[in-house]
């Protein structure tokens, strides 16, 4: 085997090691990581879907409960992929075991890819669990498997990267809950999870277009239901654009050693 092939085999082993460690971490504490989103989503379905939804009637030609399914699934994916990376990477800084990776012969993109893949893995597991829960409440039919899967994975990559950057800057456990509480939740709730932005006055429709979560929710809704407030190509362009920018920024932070080296 050539030197180059040896090197990439070593990188692959390192990546697998970080990913396995990350998956085992959230699997060990599944009661804290996988169960709560399932319960929360079930409550959303009962309250907004069954109890209130019946009074609301149809939205864009779908029963209200069916309309909110994509947003609720994606909301779980967003919060869990973010939470996994922010808590795992901050913990590794707090306990100093990030040093195990910093001293190893790894390029920074492998470290980033390992943590982000861990976040994606949790996003996918939680997303699947929430999808199964949603099947008890709605008639789930998938309009486009390709779009659904692609949005699912790209969204979790994007928010896993966001969680990583948050963890790099975090200096306390408070710092890892500020962004989810004050930025992520409002963006998600105002991102068209529970409504179509066509219901809003024109001014607020335009304001909503500045919310990146709107594009993900609508692209995902297109994948499941075949309807979207946003053209699909615009949604993908926005999502991929954000991923490229956040990935570049995260690599820059790692290369500079911000928050992890003195």
């Amino acid at each position: 085997m050539s030197h180059q092939a040896d090197r990439f085999a070593a990188y692959w082993t390192a990546f697998q090691t970080i990913l396995t460690k990350e998956v085992l971490r959230f699997a060990r504490i599944w009661v804290q990581t996988v169960l709560p989103p399932a319960i929360t989503t079930a409550l959303y379905f009962i309250i907004f879907g069954k109890l209130i939804g019946a009074q609301i009637g149809d939205m864009e030609g779908f029963r209200y409960i069916d309309f909110i399914v994509p947003g609720l699934i994606l909301m779980s994916v967003i919060s869990n992929s973010y939470a996994n990376v922010v808590s795992s990477f901050y913990n590794s800084k707090f306990q100093h075991h990030i040093e195990e990776l910093l001293i190893a012969p790894l390029p920074n993109w492998i470290i980033l890819a390992g943590f982000v893949s861990g976040g994606v893995a949790r996003g996918v597991v939680v997303g699947v669990v929430v999808t199964i829960v949603s099947m008890f409440f709605s008639d789930l039919a998938i309009h486009s498997y390709g779009v659904t899967l692609l949005v699912f994975v790209l969204t979790s990559i994007l928010f896993a990267l966001g969680g990583f950057i948050n963890a790099v800057y975090a200096n306390s456990f408070d710092d890892i809950s500020i962004v989810p509480t004050f930025i992520l939740v409002p963006l998600t709730y105002l991102g068209g999870v529970f409504y179509s932005i066509t219901l809003l006055p024109e001014f607020w429709q335009n304001v909503s277009l500045a919310n990146p979560v709107l594009y993900m929710v609508n692209a995902f809704r297109y994948g499941l239901l075949g309807v979207s407030d946003i053209p699909l190509w615009v949604a993908f362009l926005i999502i991929i654009g954000f991923i490229v920018v956040l990935f570049g920024f995260a690599i820059y932070l790692l290369n500079r050693g911000v928050g992890i080296k003195t």
Partner: protein, 315 residues
């Protein structure tokens, strides 16, 4: 070949002091090298730079010929680090900590488990392999860090106070283990506050003080530079009055205990002859102070005096 070559290494912390003021240091392959210095002297900063945990402000670091700036991965692959503070995930099982570290170095999982077994057994941790790291005693945690540092079989092992807080028995068994590793070809750099540890293990030594190398020599040469040594002598009978023996300073600390200051040009035989003539029979003899400790204290004190002189001149 040189295992480590450092030229003009500098580190200035943001809004802080200059921790390293242009260090030059070379360590030969196969050496067992002591890097000593008081707290805050710059030892851990130097180790941090070598192992890529601290960004340097200037200078060059080469490990087995690989330049840290040009080939950081090649440098990292050569080094195993045992840091001063525990830095593993306390909630992970012991064996997973070692196996994961191997994985970060690209060692496939099956081989990583084989090596983990070898090193955990050698360091008497195999029985604890499934225990969470937080349940280990302080000495076990130190040994776990050594096993983790060795799992990728580094050519250069850096130990930053590896026996801090470890009881004497375990410390001695760790010494034996480290000697064996060194004999098998691994270059070792050790920092420690137990100077007898450095004296008994290391062949070469550098003393770092206030970010500068104050001394760098072979251990034997360093110890020969001592002008005098103090000995404690236990006598068979209480001594009423101290005899005067030319060339020796004697002091009676207890009725049956003498302290003798012996310069390098004098032999102990002359001292014993003098005492015998004075009717004093010596039943046992020991060094009052560890020799290296004495030298170390002298150098640190000299460094402080020089700094004080410079400050005085500046004013």
């Amino acid at each position: 070949m040189q295992a480590l070559s450092i030229k003009n290494l500098q580190k200035t912390y943001k809004n802080g002091p200059q921790a390293l003021c242009g260090i030059d240091l070379e360590v030969d392959e196969g050496d067992f090298f002591a890097l000593l210095g008081p707290n805050g002297a710059g030892k851990s900063t130097a180790i941090g730079v070598i192992s890529s945990l601290v960004n340097k402000s200037g200078g060059t670091v080469k490990v087995f010929g690989h330049d840290l700036d040009k080939a950081p991965e090649a440098v990292k692959a050569c080094i195993g680090l045992v840091p001063q503070e525990f830095n593993f995930n306390m909630f992970e099982p012991v064996v997973e900590i070692v196996v994961n570290q191997a994985g970060y170095y690209g060692i496939p999982r099956k081989e990583a488990y084989r090596r983990a077994e070898v090193y955990l057994k050698q360091l008497d941790l195999w029985e604890k392999r499934h225990a969470e790291a937080r349940s280990l005693s302080g000495g076990m945690k130190r040994r776990l860090m050594i096993a983790r540092a060795l799992v990728h079989e580094p050519r250069l092992l850096i130990l930053d106070e590896p026996t801090a807080g470890v009881d004497i028995e375990i410390r001695h068994s760790m010494w034996q283990f480290l000697k064996r590793i060194n004999e098998q070809g691994t270059t070792i750099i050790l920092t420690t506050h137990y100077l007898e540890e450095a004296e008994s293990l290391c062949r070469n030594i550098a003393i770092i003080n206030r970010g500068r190398i104050a001394e760098r020599a072979a251990m034997g040469e360093m110890l020969r530079r001592l002008h005098q040594q103090s000995f404690v002598l236990d006598t068979a009978e209480p001594v009423d009055s101290l005899p005067t023996i030319e060339g020796f300073d004697l002091e009676l600390t207890e009725s049956c205990v003498l302290e003798a200051c012996v310069t390098r040009d004098k032999g102990l035989t002359e001292l014993f002859d003098g005492l015998r003539q004075a009717g004093i029979e010596v039943v046992s003899l020991r060094n009052k102070q560890n020799r290296l400790e004495q030298l170390f204290m002298d150098m640190v004190a000299n460094g402080r005096a020089k700094d004080a002189d410079q400050q005085g001149a500046g004013q």
